[in-house]
């Protein structure tokens, strides 16, 4: 019997090619976009890859300082002194890393100049983040403490600068300084870990950075467990309240927040540097609403297509009932037809999403992008299309199948 249903469904679908194609395109496209978007979002926000511990760390990126009376305000990245003297001694943290924003530097290599991104990091940075080391090693605490001129490259940069040779031990001339390459790590595109070159913070040409409250650093604060994060947030706010500027007459109020990645983006979006609540909840709500809206369009289309077909099918239902089909058999038939279409569309969507992500990764449109399909999202998307497919295709058919055959034959809905 089950085989009959499949065969009938197959026959109907191959016969109604346009209907099938539109339906499939609808499902496929929706699922594809949904998967690609969530894969990108997940890469950005979810603890994964190099930043796999991001459920355990927070970042402090911005310091807001205000003068007495509030007539002058300064907002900017942290200075190293702030991190070293105020954040490192915090009680609630396990580890604090200082890391500079990526700066563009000129790299001279065989008469060629490349503009590359360089970050200066302390030793804790390499412990908090989970870089996959392909060759050599990352700077040790001693390398950093001694101010050794060592550098780590990512795989693409290593291959570009030293084609056909190992990058290890090579001299790297970057921003007027010469480093020895000691390690190569995997490419990554995430908030705290994307860069081409990393060197110890102590190799900075001037030691002035050590005395600055404002600079171009931000801090990563690692907790023992995700449950500790609120403690860190409270303590950072506390630290900000008690911050002592060198000249208290210039700045007498400081604000800074320990943020998750989502908070970080929300703050940038909603300009909420001055309040504890970053607006991440709102951001999430907006993302969810957009996704639902996006899912709704094809869903409604599906409903529309299916209900347009129902009239046509009412005669079929009447005939089948007249010749001995029970409501149950009919419902099973319609369910199978719908489920089959959804599953097939889902499969196509999955393949299309994988292809699209593959293309994104390799096109260089977004450098160093490495993402994975989230199968849970795929499942959800599929469930939603199934839901609408059943809602639109099966429920009307089911209602009609409960009529007496005569009524169905006459097309009474």
């Amino acid at each position: 019997m089950f085989k009959n249903y499949l065969i009938t469904a197959y026959k109907v679908y191959t016969r109604r090619k346009l209907f099938t194609a539109i339906n499939l395109a609808c499902i496929t496209l929706t699922l594809m976009v949904l998967l690609v978007v969530t894969a990108l979002l997940q890469n950005a926000f979810y603890p994964t890859g190099v930043e796999g511990r991001s459920d355990r760390f927070l970042q402090v990126t911005t310091l807001v300082a205000e003068s007495e009376g509030g007539n002058s305000v300064r907002t900017g990245p942290l200075g190293y002194k702030l991190i070293d003297q105020y954040l490192r001694p915090m009680k609630s943290v396990q580890l604090v890393a200082a890391i500079s924003s990526p700066r563009t530097v000129s790299v001279y290599q065989d008469d060629r100049v490349s503009e590359l991104m360089l970050r200066r990091a302390d030793a804790a940075y390499w412990q908090i983040l989970d870089f996959k080391v392909l060759e050599g090693s990352v700077p040790s605490a001693e390398d950093v403490a001694q101010g050794r001129f060592v550098a780590v490259l990512n795989a693409s940069t290593a291959a570009r600068l030293y084609p056909g040779a190992s990058a290890l031990g090579q001299q790297l001339n970057a921003g007027g300084q010469t480093f020895k390459v000691i390690g190569v790590v995997e490419d990554t595109l995430q908030l705290n870990s994307y860069s081409d070159i990393w060197v110890p913070v102590t190799t900075d040409p001037s030691s002035e950075y050590r005395n600055q409250m404002f600079g171009d650093f931000f801090a990563l604060l690692l907790a023992d467990s995700p449950a500790q994060l609120p403690l860190i947030q409270a303590e950072v706010a506390e630290v900000a309240r008690n911050l002592q500027f060198d000249d208290p007459r210039q700045w007498n109020l400081a604000l800074m927040w320990a943020d998750s990645k989502l908070d970080f983006f929300a703050r940038g979006l909603f300009r909420t540097e001055r309040q504890a609540d970053s607006g991440a909840g709102l951001l999430l709500a907006i993302i969810a609403a957009l996704m639902i809206l996006f899912m709704l369009l094809p869903a409604l289309n599906l409903v529309n297509l299916n209900s347009g077909r129902i009239l046509e099918r009412s005669s079929e239902i009447g005939v089948r009932k007249a010749f001995g089909a029970s409501s149950r058999t009919l419902v099973i038939q319609f369910v199978i037809e719908n489920v089959l279409l959804c599953l097939f569309g889902g499969l196509l969507g999955l393949i299309a999403a994988i292809a699209a992500l593959n293309w994104l990764e390799h096109s260089g449109l977004i450098p160093y992008l490495k993402v994975d399909i989230n199968l849970a999202v795929f499942g959800c998307g599929l469930a939603i299309t199934l839901f609408f497919g059943l809602l639109s295709g099966v429920i009307p058919a089911w209602k009609m199948s409960r009529l007496h055959p005569v009524q169905a034959l006459k097309g009474a809905a």
Partner: protein, 220 residues
């Protein structure tokens, strides 16, 4: 074979109540060819649908082979419809998405028969109505007469005891109508009971027995 006792049927819409059939008593004998005649709107189709258990009477009892039909829930009547009746409609009601052979096979899907036998029987039925060469066609690729013959093949494929035909020639020209009539008569001669609604006195006379409906009641 089929007995209707004190059957009434009322259609209710929001505004009006139509008494379509009133106190009908009718016996369809095994092997007969019964023609139902009457003016338009008098209740012929309603009567035929009640005989075939496609609709539920408002009052009265219908017995099939001596057993009264008590429930019209389809798990109770589906089997009876499938085994006892074969329907032929004025507007064919073929499923356009399915090939002729699949249309004809349809009643057998609701029995437990192996696929090979179903196909075999459907092929035989089509050959009987002279459409052995059209099995792979879709209904809308056939003429009206051919479509009605497909519908007849579908009605007889399950070898039902009773064929119910509601103006089977109503949508056909006289030549095609004649072919369809010949086919029904032949099936009747082979032992199938036929109940046919028609407007055509000459067609009706070719059957063994005529009942006339007027305004929801049997006359004569």
């Amino acid at each position: 074979m089929i007995r209707l006792e004190n059957i009434s049927k009322t259609y209710r819409t929001d505004k009006v109540e139509t008494l379509a059939l009133k106190d009908i008593n009718l016996h369809v004998n095994k092997g007969e060819f019964l023609s139902i005649m009457g003016p338009s709107g008098c209740g012929k189709s309603t009567l035929l649908n009640l005989i075939g258990l496609l609709d539920q009477p408002g009052a009265g009892t219908i017995s099939v082979d001596g057993a009264a039909v008590k429930s019209y829930r389809d798990k109770d009547v589906a089997q009876l419809r499938n085994q006892t009746f074969g329907f032929i409609f004025q507007s064919f009601h073929l499923i356009n998405d399915l090939q002729v052979i699949d249309n004809v096979e349809l009643p057998l899907l609701y029995r437990s028969l192996p696929a090979r036998e179903r196909k075999q029987r459907a092929r035989e039925a089509l050959e009987r109505v002279g459409l052995g060469a059209r099995m792979e066609h879709y209904p809308n690729q056939l003429s009206g007469g051919q479509q009605q013959r497909v519908a007849i093949a579908r009605a007889i494929v399950g070898r039902p005891q009773v064929l119910l035909a509601d103006e089977p020639t109503g949508n056909l020209d006289s030549q095609m109508g004649g072919e369809v009539m010949d086919l029904l008569l032949r099936l009747n001669q082979e032992g199938t009971t036929v109940v046919m609604v028609t407007h055509d006195e000459r067609e009706a006379k070719r059957g063994s027995h005529i009942v006339r409906v007027f305004d929801g009641q049997l006359v004569s």
